[in-house]
């Protein structure tokens, strides 16, 4: 049992409407984001996925007077849009409409939120899609996304953070329409709602919105506290063996006690950007694993959850969390089966690149912990971030989203506060933070790989066997001496592996 706190519950305070406003007089659209402070963390045990179902039933269903199909007809000429998103601790609904259509769209929006129809037919459709996602889609469509969800399942085992927001194969089967209605009444209430609004709207409109939303349930929701997890003891690996995987997709993590609420977060952000800025070629991990050695498509690190990393280039808003973890993402590397087929000179290899890539990545983290960042690297990275973070909020929806997330962390305007924090940081602050929060001896690791690769990889990891890099002759021929020397050091870099388990793909997320 890694969780320390399961029984602690947080109760929302009684009704006091929270509002985050972003007035944009030149904009021709209105964006409304309604944030409820309850996410998958408040799913009942045995019915994991219920918050997600409830949110989907609101956006994929009708209102008191209109069916889902009626709504689609009405909003079609407006090109108005809305969606729901559920994360561990919050759920939100976002509505966007051109100001020309606001009066016609508004009643639909309010109807969806305050008077959802929750019809049985809509429920059948929503739950079938959700079941399909947890049974099939997550395992079959992207091994990278799979490895991330599997890591959260591992790292947060036996806590309210463990399950995917969409739930588990068995738990989704238990969800009923009655559960949805009750969950909506108990948890999507006016007492845990924050209203976000952006665009060119009038004070009267906002007043009306506030009034209408006060019709939501008056229940004071009880939401479990986010888990505080212990540091894993040693390195623990779960290899998920899948038929026909083309490579090994790797994701690692260990708990991190800081979030955006803490001042140390900015320091760690500089270190993380230097180590592995998402989808950038500046990071050490990327340069070492992809650029110099061409082992995969990219390698990055994280100090908070980054939603849909495979699709997003910039970190999206709407996923604020209290339980953070440090993570390294190694995109799929080659497996032995593929190397053998493609290169005559590698016909005798028994194991692909996963073990070596893992060693290379953790060795980079280790070096950073030991040596810290140079003054020069610190300055360059800070300069980059001070400009780059402005892109996070380049459109109104994300600007509003970041403001709403700021509130979650007890801040007013995270991006502008972050800029000030970055401005006053020193290299010393960053290096202190690295030493304080990062290490390489304890972590959980998930690897999605082919069944043929699982056994040899497990053995290699468990026994800490040397994992010499197996280059094709193409690449090997031109590699400089210092790279080969570094490879030699890396192949036997000791990982503090304690446990290695092979799990069949079908047995995950049960």
């Amino acid at each position: 049992m890694k969780s320390l706190i399961l029984s602690l519950l947080i109760m929302a305070t009684a009704f006091a409407q929270d509002i985050v406003e972003l007035k944009l007089p030149k904009s021709n659209q209105i964006i409304i984001r309604l944030v409820f402070k309850n996410g998958s963390i408040s799913d009942p045990v045995g019915k994991e996925g219920l918050t997600y179902t409830t949110a989907e039933m609101i956006t994929e269903g009708g209102t008191g007077s209109l069916s889902y199909a009626d709504i689609q007809d009405k909003i079609y000429p407006m090109a108005a849009s809305y969606y729901s998103a559920v994360d561990k601790e919050i759920s939100y609904f976002q509505f966007a409409v051109h100001q020309d259509w606001l009066d016609k769209f508004y009643p639909i929006m309010i109807g969806l939120i305050t008077n959802p129809s929750f019809s049985d037919a809509d429920f059948q459709r929503v739950i079938a899609n959700q079941q399909n996602y947890v049974d099939q889609v997550i395992r079959a469509s992207s091994d990278e996304e799979y490895s991330k969800k599997a890591l959260e399942d591992f790292l947060f085992r036996d806590t309210r953070y463990q399950h995917m927001t969409a739930g588990k194969s068995e738990s989704v089967k238990n969800i009923t329409l009655e559960d949805v209605k009750k969950h909506y009444h108990d948890l999507f209430t006016k007492n845990n709602l924050t209203i976000g609004i952006a665009g060119n709207y009038s004070p009267e409109f906002l007043e009306k919105l506030k009034n209408d939303l006060s019709k939501l349930s008056d229940n004071i929701p009880v939401v479990p506290a986010p888990p505080v997890i212990e540091m894993p003891s040693g390195i623990n690996v779960e290899i998920i063996a899948k038929d026909g995987a083309f490579g090994s997709a790797i994701f690692t993590g260990f708990p991190l006690s800081v979030t955006r609420a803490d001042d140390d977060f900015a320091a760690l952000m500089v270190a993380n950007s230097y180590l592995g800025e998402h989808r950038k070629s500046y990071g050490r991990l990327y340069q070492q694993i992809r650029e110099t050695r061409s082992m995969n498509y990219g390698d990055y690190s994280y100090i908070e959850w980054y939603n849909n990393g495979g699709g997003n280039m910039l970190p999206p808003s709407g996923v604020p969390r209290h339980s953070n973890y440090f993570a390294v993402w190694i995109r799929p590397v080659q497996i032995a089966k593929q190397l053998k087929q493609q290169y005559e000179e590698l016909k005798d290899v028994n194991i692909g690149h996963a073990h070596f890539a893992l060693r290379m990545a953790l060795r980079e983290v280790d070096k950073l912990v030991k040596d810290g960042m140079t003054e020069e690297d610190f300055e360059a990275t800070r300069t980059f971030l001070r400009s780059y973070i402005k892109l996070y909020i380049k459109n109104p929806a994300e600007q509003l989203g970041y403001l709403l997330d700021s509130k979650f962390y007890g801040r007013k305007d995270y991006i502008s506060e972050l800029d000030k924090q970055l401005a006053s940081l020193t290299a010393d602050d960053v290096n202190k933070a690295i030493r304080k929060y990062w290490q390489t001896d304890n972590m959980d690791i998930t690897i999605i790989t082919d069944v043929s690769e699982a056994e040899p990889l497990a053995k290699s990891l468990k026994e800490n066997l040397d994992s010499p890099m197996s280059y094709s002759n193409f690449v090997k021929a031109g590699l400089p001496e210092d790279v080969l020397k570094e490879d030699k050091e890396t192949e036997s870099f000791k990982l503090n592996v304690k446990t290695v388990k092979i799990i069949k793909s079908a047995d995950t997320f049960k």
Binding site: S27, Y106, D143, P332, S387, L391
Partner: protein, 449 residues
């Protein structure tokens, strides 16, 4: 409800974004400034209210369509990777350092007809952006070792993508639907060619000589910038870029004579069905593409009769969607659907075909036609909320026709499409002989008629 109506009421009877100037119904409510350099490089500037922010795009009209030679499919995409390997003046590391100092979000991507390089960041650093981009577009220099190393990253990208059965079937689909045209291979290329990429160092230099030329390229700058300044920077940094003389002969696809099929046996995902009819090349001068856009929105969007029947009421399909891909040469009009049960595949296919036949015979409702025009216009307005999105949408039309004004022309064409036009294109393009059916199911064969 009394408060609510104040603002919308004024707007409803006042101005709308599309009707500000009578006679000027351009979808993009900002002027497009164009300036052509002597070497044929087109420079497009769109000033936009995004204080301190500018999007800098370079569109090269080379994609997998241009890969006419045997054994080098996937090269346009591979070359996009090579463009990040540096020059003598700014080797890779230095280029990265400068880019990092600009604090921009920068990347590139390749598809059928084009490669796009983009960076969005601090508008004050525009000159640096021009300088480093001009340097690599004119003076790219990499070693054979760099070249071979990068080939591994491309294989890594393929490995990542190939995990998805949808990716696997789309590869098979184009290979089945096309015989001669280069659209037969995906932008990633045939896997055997990807494995062989390290051997193509000499060819890569030829590729650069051929396509990385001003006549193939357009610069697009959107945001907190002035056209005069952008043009001056373009002259300064790209003025000496020499013109090339290569004109690839893209094979013409012969007419398809019968329905084709491709199938992937896979039980790990829900059954999947796609119908792919040969469509037209993009043009903003004929009604074909705009009419097809409207028709496919009517037939396959979330409020379509088909969606209501198959997805909402009968719950036979989990999803349905479709449309004609914009491309320089005739490509595909694709309708995709994901099902609950494999045994419903034939039924779902028949229902889709029935809906298409219904349009051929009876046309479409006039109100739905007008609603669809409204939908397309408002969708565009709702999307264009930052300089990056605007640059991207303009880049789309630049690669299709070479002219950013195509965007405005296309949307103005939408406004003129009639019910007869819709019937005409339905009859012209939705022909069984021009159809390729792609399926994924647990069965060994697709089994669709």
């Amino acid at each position: 409800m009394k408060y609510l109506y104040i603002i919308p009421f004024l707007l409803f009877f006042g101005i709308t974004v599309f009707g500000q100037d009578k006679g000027d119904d351009k979808i993009l409510p900002y002027p497009i400034y164009q300036h052509k350099l002597d070497n044929s490089l087109n420079v497009v500037t769109i000033p936009y209210d995004s204080p301190g922010l500018a999007a800098f795009y370079i569109v090269v009209r080379v994609g997998s369509r241009n890969e006419v030679e045997e054994g080098v499919t996937g090269f346009a995409h591979f070359f996009e990777h090579m463009m990040f390997r540096g020059t003598d003046k700014y080797p890779r590391d230095k280029y990265n350092d400068i880019l990092k100092a600009v604090g921009a979000g920068a990347n590139a991507n390749t598809s059928l007809d084009r490669t796009i390089y983009h960076m969005t960041g601090n508008a004050e650093k525009l000159e640096t952006m021009f300088e480093i981009e001009a340097d690599r577009f004119m003076n790219l220099h990499y070693t054979e070792h760099d070249f071979k190393t990068e080939a591994g990253a491309v294989k890594g990208e393929y490995t990542k993508n190939y995990a998805s059965p949808y990716e696997q079937i789309s590869e098979e689909l184009v290979n089945t639907a096309f015989d001669k045209h280069t659209y037969k291979h995906t932008t990633m290329g045939f896997f055997k060619d990807i494995v062989d990429m390290p051997n193509q160092f000499e060819y890569s230099k030829k590729f650069f000589e051929r396509f990385y030329r001003p006549e193939y390229s357009t610069i697009i700058v959107v945001g907190d910038v002035k056209p005069d300044n952008v043009n001056k920077l373009a002259e300064t940094y790209f003025g000496k870029w020499g013109k090339g003389n290569y004109d690839p002969q893209i094979p013409v696809e012969p007419e398809q004579k019968e329905t084709r099929y491709t199938h992937l046996q896979n039980s790990s995902i829900p059954p999947y069905l796609s119908l792919n009819y040969k469509g037209p090349a993009f043009s903003d001068k004929t009604i074909d593409m705009p009419a097809l856009d409207i028709l496919s929105t009517i037939l396959f969007s979330q409020n379509s009769e088909l969606f209501k029947k198959l997805v909402i009421d009968e719950q036979k399909a989990r999803y349905i969607g479709g449309g004609a891909e914009d491309s320089r040469d005739p490509y595909l009009i694709s309708i995709e659907t994901s099902l609950y049960k494999p045994e419903d595949m034939q039924y779902v296919k028949d229902e889709i075909v029935k809906a298409i036949e219904n349009v051929k015979n009876n046309g479409v409702d006039k109100k739905i036609l007008e609603d669809t025009k409204s939908y397309l216009k408002y969708s565009y307005a709702m999307r264009t909320v930052d300089p990056d999105v605007i640059a991207n949408s303009v880049a789309h039309y630049v690669y299709l026709t070479g002219d950013p004004e195509s965007l405005n022309r296309l949307y103005s064409m939408y406004g003129k499409i009639t019910v007869d036009d819709i019937i005409k294109v339905a009859k012209k393009y939705f022909i069984p002989e021009h159809l390729t059916v792609a399926t994924i199911s647990p069965a060994a064969e697709g089994g669709i008629k």
